[in-house]
């Protein structure tokens, strides 16, 4: 039963500029935190099943920079970078994230979203992970809008959920 509940992921939209992903994992917070913050472990899960990670650079301290690069099957490369804003071991990491476009400088914070990742102890030695992505300013939200996503994602997705049924 614990297995079934631990495999459930929730995606919600707490505000017009935020996305919240929640999932409970079957391991204690200090191990989840280690998997999240150790480059050779990040490589094993971060690309999902969609490719290989070629760079997992993490200067893991407040003010330090990180950069992840993945080569997807199909050969195209996607890269993200950012800086750490807040680190509370085993509890909380706040960092910026920029999806690199052609011409994006490696230290650019333009178009960055702010991610807050929390690790909360759950029943049975499990950990509830919450990833809250905040597009924050209007400027950033508009940048995201240009890629096809505008504010109001929450309602947008509520409709889509209803519609999904009729698409099946």
């Amino acid at each position: 039963m614990a297995q079934a509940s631990s495999s459930t992921m929730d995606v919600t939209f707490p505000s017009d500029t935020e996305i919240l992903i929640t999932r409970t994992l079957n391991a204690p917070p200090h191990l989840v935190y280690r998997a999240w913050t150790t480059p050779e472990l990040v490589r094993k899960w971060w690309p999902g099943r969609r490719g290989e990670m070629t760079v997992a650079a993490m200067d893991f301290r407040v003010g330090g920079a990180w950069r992840y690069v993945m080569v997807a099957h199909g050969e195209f490369q996607v890269a993200f970078h950012g800086t750490y804003r807040e680190i509370v071991p085993n509890e909380r990491i706040v960092h910026t994230e920029v999806m690199e476009m052609p011409g994006t400088a490696p230290d650019s914070e333009e178009g960055a979203v702010l991610n807050t990742v929390t690790f909360d102890r759950a029943d049975g030695g499990a950990t509830t992970v919450r990833i809250r992505t905040d597009a924050g300013s209007k400027e950033v939200r508009d940048t995201i809008a240009q890629s096809g996503m505008e504010g109001g994602v929450r309602e947008q997705f509520e409709i889509i959920e209803e519609l999904a049924a009729s698409l099946a």
Partner: protein, 110 residues
């Protein structure tokens, strides 16, 4: 209306809150314009303008019945949005599944 140019695809058409209300109303079934006007509490020209945008991206379909113009939803046009959400969700599900594997290994080390 600087935004006019941004209505050309489904994502942007659906980003407008009033248009989402129209789509919501149409999930209940086909409706004539005057019903939408009443439901939304907007002037008919505004509703018609939103309907035109939705029609241009294929999100709604219109047919004439006598003097009435009846609008209905075309969910297929919203599929790209649905697919985008699904792929984003699937990626995180994959990540968490792999993370569970990593965690099993870490637990065994102890």
């Amino acid at each position: 209306m600087a935004r006019a140019a941004t209505t050309a695809d489904t994502f942007n058409a659906v980003a407008e809150p009033r248009r989402r209300e129209i789509l919501d109303a149409l999930t209940q079934g086909e409706r004539p314009v005057n019903e939408l006007v009443t439901l939304l509490g907007l002037a008919q020209p505004h509703v018609s303008r939103h309907l035109r945008v939705l029609r241009e991206v294929g999100a709604v379909v219109v047919r004439d019945e006598g003097r009435q113009r009846l609008y209905r939803l075309n969910p297929q046009a919203l599929k790209p949005i649905h697919d985008w959400v699904a792929s984003y969700q699937h990626l995180w599900e994959e990540r968490f599944d792999l993370l569970e594997d990593v965690l099993e290994d870490l637990k065994e080390e102890h």
